[in-house]
């Protein structure tokens, strides 16, 4: 909040009331995540200037049904509650603006009843006026004002004119106040008042409800519903693969060109190597995953804004409940297939602390997109003779392996460390609405920026540290051979060699060990690191030369260095291990401590090591 601001206006309302839409309309595109003490969740804040040149800070509080439930600070209700309590404590000049869905007047007025008991000035904006009018109905705002004793306006948040209407309301009557407001209790019944204020004029005849009913008859049909839902999810994954791939390749090619420019311009070989392999290599790795994050965010936001997401929750609840999760976990679980970090934030929609913890603990097992390059490299190197269908099936198998491991882990966790039954599901199924491109755009850019900030910085750091470890010669021990390449004398290589006696049970030699050491920080760097070790530049852009080199690598006595058994064992390791410091940092942030992030690293590495040894021992006997 800037010094010039007259005060803060907090938007409050039920989920799906059109709050984000109105916030977007009011503030344009320049909202930032507000930094409120005590509030851990992103609360969007932006500044708005009214006609008289005064500045208001507008805050978009999470959607909530009630202020009365003792929700923990991790859920949306809890965040809003905390924010309001904090405002009272700090005596900040705050006013509340309730966004009330006109098509659910009775339900929204129940929240109004609670908000009137809060010690802040209040005004009500009735949204979805356009939908009401299409139904041939209006809301009698004068009558509402009279009954509530606070200002009321009806707007359609999608109409550009709504901005002026709401600003007028702010200017005219909503004065943020640091003083506590006390109102005499008025006696009114939300449902009765809603009926009195709801005017039907035309013959629109509830088209919104009818359209929703018709769509639900198909989308929630006992047979067609699940089939359509599965089809949608499959297409979504296909899009993540097929559409994101060329975009990633283009981004990587751009970074590759930049790298070549840098290596020509910088004459000092060490500095050039630092910039190209360390910095730009890391940046390219980060950018490569951006298209997938964007596609998945757009898809999820479209599903959410259209109302289909809660239908998905309805359809999969039973299935996930069997694994100790619940329908709502579906959203973070789906997000985790792009990246676990935004998925960890998405667990805030889970109201039940135990279920949320279980979801957090198994999210790192979902096949995030950072695993794909390693899978692709290994399949290309050791299974290229099997044809494209085999590799396609292998990819699906790896995805399923991750998902099944996650569900199984959740079952075990429910009986052990994160005991307890999930709270039963109650979720609103909003009427279907067409999503607003402006809002989708805003959500997506925020997700992309958040990904670059949270994941990007840690990948960059890992990449730079790894470069140093691969470049600096180890001060201890003698190199294996005098003519060994500099990389074989590096600190990383000597650590990798020291681990060989243990890791050979999984078929990993020092080269793979070095890759895994880097991947401990961020699994994204695996392919690039192997590229550096095998002396192949631009392995991320084109893995084919590295795949050939991996396949053809020989031990000094002429035997193949790696085989399909090693590839399978390494894939098993990648399916299970939480090789991602960004995830660990996000887990620490969300669980407010080190206990659970360390638990996740411990249990996934234990599983991964066990599985890698088992797979290697079995496969090296079978695949002879």
């Amino acid at each position: 909040m800037s010094a010039a601001a007259v005060g803060t206006v907090a938007l409050v309302g039920r989920p799906n009331a059109g709050k984000s839409s109105l916030f977007n309309r009011l503030t344009g595109a320049d909202a930032k995540v507000g930094n409120f003490p005590g509030v851990t969740v992103d609360v969007l804040e932006a500044e708005v200037t009214d006609a008289r040149g005064r500045t208001w800070a507008v805050v978009d509080l999470p959607g909530l049904y009630t202020l009365g439930v003792s929700a923990s600070g991790d859920t949306d209700e809890g965040v809003a509650r905390q924010w309001l309590d904090r405002a009272v404590q700090d005596r900040r000049p705050v006013a509340l603006l309730q966004v009330l869905d006109g098509t659910q007047l009775g339900l929204g007025l129940r929240l109004t009843q609670e908000l009137l008991r809060e010690p802040f000035p209040l005004a009500v904006v009735v949204t979805q006026e356009d939908l009401l009018r299409r139904d041939g109905a209006t809301v009698d705002t004068a009558r509402l004002e009279e009954a509530l004793g606070v200002p009321v306006r009806a707007v359609s948040a999608r109409d550009p004119g709504s901005r002026a209407a709401v600003l007028g309301l702010l200017e005219g009557s909503l004065v943020p106040s640091a003083e506590r407001v006390e109102r005499p209790e008025r006696d009114w019944d939300p449902e009765r008042l809603a009926r009195q204020c709801y005017r039907r004029e035309g013959a629109g005849a509830a088209s919104l409800a009818r359209r929703t009913e018709r769509l639900d008859r198909v989308l929630l049909h006992p047979v067609a519903g699940p089939v359509l839902f599965t089809g949608l999810m499959v297409s979504l994954f296909a899009a993540v693969f097929l559409v994101a791939d060329p975009a990633s390749a283009a981004l990587e090619a751009g970074v590759g060109r930049l790298s070549r420019l840098v290596s020509r311009a910088v004459t000092d070989p060490t500095l050039a190597s630092f910039l190209v392999d360390g910095v730009l290599g890391g940046a390219g790795t980060v950018l490569a995953f951006l298209p997938q994050i964007v596609i998945l965010t757009v898809a999820l936001e479209l599903m959410d804004a259209s109302g289909y997401l809660s239908r998905g929750v309805f359809l999969v609840d039973r299935l996930l409940r069997a694994a100790g999760l619940g329908g709502r976990s579906f959203v973070p679980l789906l997000t985790a297939h792009a990246c676990a970090v935004p998925a960890i934030q998405a667990t805030r929609i889970l109201r039940d602390g135990r279920e949320r913890l279980r979801t957090l603990l198994v999210l790192p097992l979902m096949t995030c997109s950072a695993r794909i390059p390693t899978y692709a490299l290994l399949l290309a190197a050791f299974f290229s003779h099997r044809g494209v269908w085999f590799r396609g099936a292998a990819f699906v198998g790896l995805y399923l392996a991750g998902a099944c491991a996650g569900l199984l882990a959740s079952l075990v966790l429910r009986r052990t460390v994160a005991r307890g039954r999930s709270l039963p599901l109650v979720v609103e199924m909003p009427a279907y609405r067409s999503p607003e491109p402006r809002v989708v755009w805003r959500v997506t850019t925020r997700a992309a920026v958040g990904f670059l900030r949270d994941v990007g910085t840690s990948i960059l750091a890992v990449s730079v540290v790894l470069w140093a470890l691969l470049t600096i010669p180890a001060p201890w021990g003698a190199p294996p051979r005098a003519e060994a390449a500099p990389i074989e004398r590096s600190v990383a290589a000597s650590v990798g060699r020291a681990l060989e006696p243990v890791t050979r049970y999984a078929g990993f030699d020092w080269r793979i060990n070095v890759g895994l050491l880097g991947a401990f920080g961020a699994r994204e760097v695996m392919v690039g690191t192997l590229g550096v070790i095998y002396g192949i530049e631009g392995a991320e852009e084109d893995p084919a030369p590295l795949a050939t080199r991996l396949r053809d690598a020989r031990t000094p006595d002429g035997r193949p260095l790696h085989g399909p058994a090693t590839a399978l064992s390494l894939m098993a390791f990648f399916v299970l291990a939480c090789q991602c410091m960004s995830t660990v940092a996000a887990l620490r942030r969300e669980t407010r401590g080190w206990r659970w992030p360390l638990f996740v690293v411990g249990y996934t590495y234990a599983l991964a090591s066990g599985a890698a040894v088992l797979v290697f021992q079995v496969a090296s006997r079978v695949l002879r």
Partner: protein, 94 residues
């Protein structure tokens, strides 16, 4: 003397798809679930219609609030559905 009014009270979980009723009580449910249901819009006196059930014994899809401008649709877990008592009105399907 007037005849006693016959109430037919049934749990939501006992209703057939398409049935309607008025929410009579949430008494069987524990405190927080009750507060939460009421906040969402499932409270005594609301009219409620069972629209469908999710496959394999999944949640119940209900519509509450017969009055215009007060409609809400919710998915409700079976364990809660058995705690929502309704005064049954009419059954559209057998």
């Amino acid at each position: 003397m007037s005849a006693p009014i016959a109430r037919t009270l049934r749990a939501l979980s006992d209703l057939g798809v398409g049935s309607e009723g008025t929410v009579w009580g949430l008494g069987v449910l524990e405190g927080e679930a009750r507060v939460w249901l009421r906040a969402l819009g499932i409270f005594e006196g609301q009219s409620l219609r069972l629209l469908r059930r999710a496959p394999f014994g999944g949640p119940y899809h209900v519509r509450v609030g017969g009055a215009e401008g007060a409609l809400g649709e919710f998915a409700i877990d079976p364990s809660l559905a058995s705690g929502i008592t309704l005064e049954a009105r009419a059954s559209v399907t057998p």
